[in-house]
Amino acid sequence: MTVDPIHQFAIKDLVPIITIGHHHFAFTNSALFMFVIVILVSALLIGATVPRAMVPGRLQSVAEMSYEFVANTVRSSAGTEGMKFFPFVFTLFMFVLFANMIGLIPYSFTVTSQLIVTATLALLVFFIVVIYGFWRNGLGFLKLFVPKGVPIYILPAIVVIEVLSFLSRPISHSVRLFANMLAGHITLQVFAGFIIMLAGFGIAGWFGAALPLILVIMLTALEFLVAFLQAYVFAILTCIYLNDAIHPGH
């Protein structure tokens, strides 16, 4: 008996396809989980802030802690001016965090293990940085590509390299989250598959199966760490990129 480790990422249509022109639109399991994430985040934050207690209850302190955490991240990497982007960064952080965490529940679907989802989020950040950078600094935003103190004869090459480095940001930004979630879930599934295979060998197999079982338990703990860390990394990179739009080089 073997387990297909890739099967968990399959996209299934839940509602019959609507065809408009040559494009097919369907309500998929991915879309369903995105809705679930949005509803859960909204429910947590609205439910937590309804009592408005001076001494916060459990739910309220979760909401306050998440606010403080993201606010400190934004302030430390994009400055106080970056706080105007706080709602954006907070939304991104909560969405990615909940997507990663819900993905760890057995039989659920990990939205962030789809490259198209993370690429959409990363491109959103990229275009916001470009548009806000030009809107705020005008052509001064292009100073970002001209580092200070570089000899004039190698400046053209440096500018091209800087532009390429800037353009590669959405790719590394999206691939990092996607690859972490994909690799983590495949690893979990492969080791869980070992348990089933070994347990099929009878008594000796059961003892053998204990080893991958311990490993799977440890990996699950690691995956929880990775799920949080990747959401944090996604948020902090967003802040660092926004910082470039707010304060381009001088």
Binding site: N72, R75, S76, S77, A78, G79, T80, E81, G82, L144, F145, P147, K148, A157, V160, I161, E162, L164, S165, F166, L167, S168, R169, I171, S172, V175, R176, A179, N180, A183, L222, L225, V226, L229, Q230, Y232, V233, I236, L237, C239, I240, N243, D244, I246, H247, P248, G249, H250
Partner: protein
């Protein structure tokens, strides 16, 4: 009469208590302001990066994706330039190499070896405000 004096004494006591309380409040406010000022100063981005890559696993993933992203963008842009200008394969050759350089630059930046495109973030933030 005796009631009056006692009331007076109470009021005095209340007054001094209130004064002490407001002084304490002021002190707390000042302390909070200082703490916020300290917190508001943006840390250098290398420090932020290092905090972001707390575990070695995440760090490895991060550095490799940076390098691959640079190479991919270089290759894609070179291919596009080739198609548009019809100078195949020179665009691909030149931009693939430049992409490698950009990828290495990305890796060194995210490792905190080389400062980012905005040197001295803290200073620039302070001046712009």
């Amino acid at each position: 009469m005796s009631d009056g004096t006692r009331e007076n004494g109470d009021r005095d006591k209340a007054h001094t208590k209130e004064a002490a309380l407001s002084a304490r409040l002021r002190r707390l406010g000042e302390g909070l302001g200082q703490a916020q000022e300290r917190g508001a100063k943006p840390a250098d981005d290398a420090g932020g990066d290092r905090a972001a890559t707390a575990s070695g696993y995440a760090r490895g993933f991060r550095l490799s994706s940076e390098l691959v992203a640079g190479v991919l963008v270089g290759a894609g842009l070179g291919w596009l330039i080739d198609r548009l200008l019809g100078i195949s394969p020179w665009g691909l050759i030149v931009f693939l190499l430049l992409g490698f350089v950009a990828g290495v630059l990305n890796v060194m930046r995210s490792a905190g070896v080389v400062p980012g495109p905005t040197p001295g973030n803290g200073k620039s933030a302070g001046r712009k405000q």
